[in-house]
């Protein structure tokens, strides 16, 4: 794509815009003043490097997806909610798992006490997965699963549920987060050391590329990096670097970049520093496009187009005067919209302490609806584009990210993937994040930064800290269920398949997915499969970097 002359580019944009079906709403101000679709110069929306957005018509054609993610209790509870959602016309199912499941351990693990069914569903065996999706036609839904360390096992279970109900794996649509690098850097839900983890991920990418065309095997997440205390530029840089690392790993395993890159997607945080966030989002699209094209030789524009989901910043919510979080969330949601997000989750104001109450979750959804339908920001495509401060901020975010990439290339001998490994090993990522978190905390402490309700304007706090509790019944139920499954299954078959999995794990040439699918079909538990693989891969223990 050579740089077309400016008027040519404008004409190309116009053409693309004109051929887009727009939403049926008046594109005018509240007072009836009509507004243009676009102000300012190129690069135009829908054109490389996509700084101003992926689509020529921006939100004029389609608003972002208002995705609200929640879930707790048993698989059956969640199944009921799924069906409710499908009945009301939704087609996307979002699954959250409880902590033991996320860590690759079963509900009867020592540490699982008090955690089973909390913050998500407990999945120990295929039986739970079958309950979760009972009576749902997997060929007609798209399922998003937020899980990383044991993503391969969960995906294997999903495939098995499909096959047991007569749905070919090729028909399965959805996304699994599966972003293991940020686990070592930030969220800490890892199981195996980085390299074996990457082996599993490459196996999954190859498997899905070959057999599951509608499946997104990875969603690269900066959200958790930010929540762990990084600043905006670090969130941007580390996330994109992780994206590049997966690209390098996939290419090294023999895949063509355009075969899988279009199916990569991202997930960012939206914090309270308004212009910084907007600059971050715009820079993210531009950097991705440039690197995919220039460094990784992508030819398909879809490989260069960064799609991302945004969630408002959980860390920014305060327990003090919790209602004022509604204000924070509104501003952060607005930043997400002005940054051109594809989908948005707004936090509930009472989430600082625990799971959101239903009322708070509704207010959160309403907040983004206000941004979408009342503020008018969706009438103009990239309305802030061309504003000197916004463009400067975009450049600055990019510059800071490029510094990080240069460092990673340096420590990785010209490979971002190797740089990511090295940075995990030598504590670069966690150290940078902890430094940033500590700096911020000290500034708040010293009163240099005002956090409303925390170190200033503190009157009005009712001191109440409520917590939604999950009853112990979920745990009891799940333990009985797990025990029952273990009793009914063919124990020898489990042992045999796990033995085979272990042998295959030792041979990097073998793709682990087929045996993983067989294993879950014997009702081997997630924890058993993890344990078998740990014997070969080892368990990751984080080195302390402070």
């Amino acid at each position: 794509m050579s740089d077309p002359a400016p008027d040519q580019a404008r004409a190309a944009w116009q053409e693309a815009y004109d051929s887009t079906k727009l939403r049926d709403v008046p594109f005018e101000t509240m007072s009836g003043v009509p507004v243009d679709a676009l102000y300012g110069e190129g690069p135009y929306p829908g054109q490389y490097p996509y700084t101003r957005g992926l689509h020529a018509a921006g939100y004029r054609s389609r608003l972002w997806t208002m995705r609200m993610f929640a879930g707790f209790g048993t698989a059956e509870d969640t199944n009921a909610r799924f069906k409710e959602l499908l009945r009301s016309g939704g087609g996307g199912l979002s699954t959250a798992f409880d902590m033991p499941t996320l860590m690759g351990r079963d509900s009867d693990h020592d540490w699982a006490l008090g955690e089973v069914g909390h913050c998500g569903v407990a999945v120990d065996t295929l039986a739970d997965m079958e309950d979760l999706f009972a009576d749902i036609d997997l060929s007609s839904v798209s399922t998003s699963m937020t899980i990383n360390g044991p993503a391969a096992m969960i995906m294997a279970m999903y495939i098995a549920v499909g096959e047991n109900t007569g749905v070919e794996r090729a028909q399965l649509a959805g996304t699994i987060q599966n972003d293991i690098l940020k686990e070592y850097q930030a969220q800490k839900e890892y199981i195996f050391p980085p390299r074996p983890s990457m082996r599993i991920i490459t196996d999954m990418m190859k498997f899905t590329s070959a057999e599951m065309p509608k499946w997104h095997p990875i969603s690269i997440s900066g959200y958790h990096i930010r929540e762990a205390g990084s600043n905006a530029a670090q969130e941007l840089a580390f996330t994109l670097a992780n994206g590049f690392a997966y690209v390098e790993a996939a290419v090294a395993s023999g895949l063509d970049v355009d075969d899988f890159a279009p199916r990569l997607s991202f997930f960012f945080n939206s914090h309270s520093d308004f212009f910084e966030e907007i600059g971050k989002f715009r820079a993210a699209r531009r950097i991705w496009a440039r690197w995919m094209k220039e460094r990784y030789g992508a030819k398909d524009p879809k490989s260069m187009m960064m799609k991302f989901h945004t969630q408002t910043a959980g860390v920014s919510l305060t327990a003090q005067q919790a209602e004022i979080n509604i204000g924070r969330v509104a501003i952060q949601a607005l930043a997400g919209a002005l940054g051109g997000t594809q989908s948005l989750h707004t936090d509930a104001y009472d989430e600082a302490m625990a799971l959101p109450t239903e009322n708070a979750a509704r207010i959160a959804l309403r907040t983004q609806q206000i941004v979408a339908h009342e503020t008018g920001v969706t009438n103009v495509i990239d309305p802030l584009g061309g504003a000197p401060f916004v463009e400067w901020m975009t450049d600055e975010m990019e510059r800071r990210a490029e510094e990080v990439f240069a460092h990673l290339l340096d420590i990785g001998n010209d490979s971002i993937l190797e740089g990511a490994y090295a940075g995990i090993e030598n504590g670069y990522f966690v150290g940078e994040i902890a430094d940033a978190a500590y700096r911020f905390e000290r500034e708040v402490n010293e009163g240099k930064r005002i956090i409303v309700g925390v170190n200033e304007f503190t009157e009005g706090d009712d001191g109440e800290r409520n917590l939604l509790r999950i009853g112990a019944e979920v745990e009891d139920y799940q333990l009985k269920r797990l025990n029952g499954v273990k009793q009914r299954r063919d124990g020898d078959a489990v042992t045999r398949v796990l033995e085979r999995l272990k042998t295959e794990a030792a041979d990097p040439e073998i793709n682990l997915m087929p045996t993983m699918i067989e294993a879950v079909k014997t009702f081997a538990t997630e924890g058993e499969i993890v344990a078998a693989l740990e014997e070969e891969f080892g368990t990751y223990v984080e080195k302390v970097f402070l």
Partner: protein
């Protein structure tokens, strides 16, 4: 030099750990730095420690206090178990819990032997002072008993 140092109170040694699955370590890392900057020695165990690991560390490191960081609802099960494990090992060391603890849980935790609870809004001075106070009152308690 010797007399300069001896005028300072002996350095406190504090074990910091997270029990169970919870992987949120932003807070505990900040606390580690706060305590270091308050002149303490922090024995940082970090994530996913067992009671046994913490007991071992307290014994071998002769720690003066333990800081546990908790960010999920398991504080009501894990913290009292930690206190019990220490008692069983005959260790008279205060346990300070930091993180997200709802108001209604504070009293029950204190009753179960937790020395103090630090909320998310605690300042650096409060954090360090809470540890010092917990150590001091544990010492007062054990010397008078």
């Amino acid at each position: 030099m010797a007399d300069e140092v001896s005028t300072n109170p002996p350095q406190l040694r504090v074990v910091l750990a997270k029990l169970g699955f919870d992987g949120h370590d932003r807070g505990i890392k900040i606390v580690a730095r706060i305590l270091r900057d308050a002149g303490m020695e922090v024995i940082y165990l970090g994530l996913r420690q067992s009671y046994k690991n913490v007991v071992n560390a307290v014994e071998q490191e002769d720690a003066d206090a333990i800081g546990l960081s908790m960010h999920n609802a398991s504080h009501m099960t894990l913290a009292p178990k930690m206190v019990a494990a220490l008692a069983e090992a005959g260790l008279e060391v205060p346990v300070v819990v930091g993180g997200i603890v709802p108001d209604e849980d504070i009293e029950p935790l204190l009753e179960k032997g937790v020395a103090a609870i630090l909320g998310p809004g605690a300042s650096a001075e409060e954090v360090a002072q809470t540890i010092r106070d917990a150590v001091a009152s544990m010492r007062a308690e054990t010397s008078q008993a």
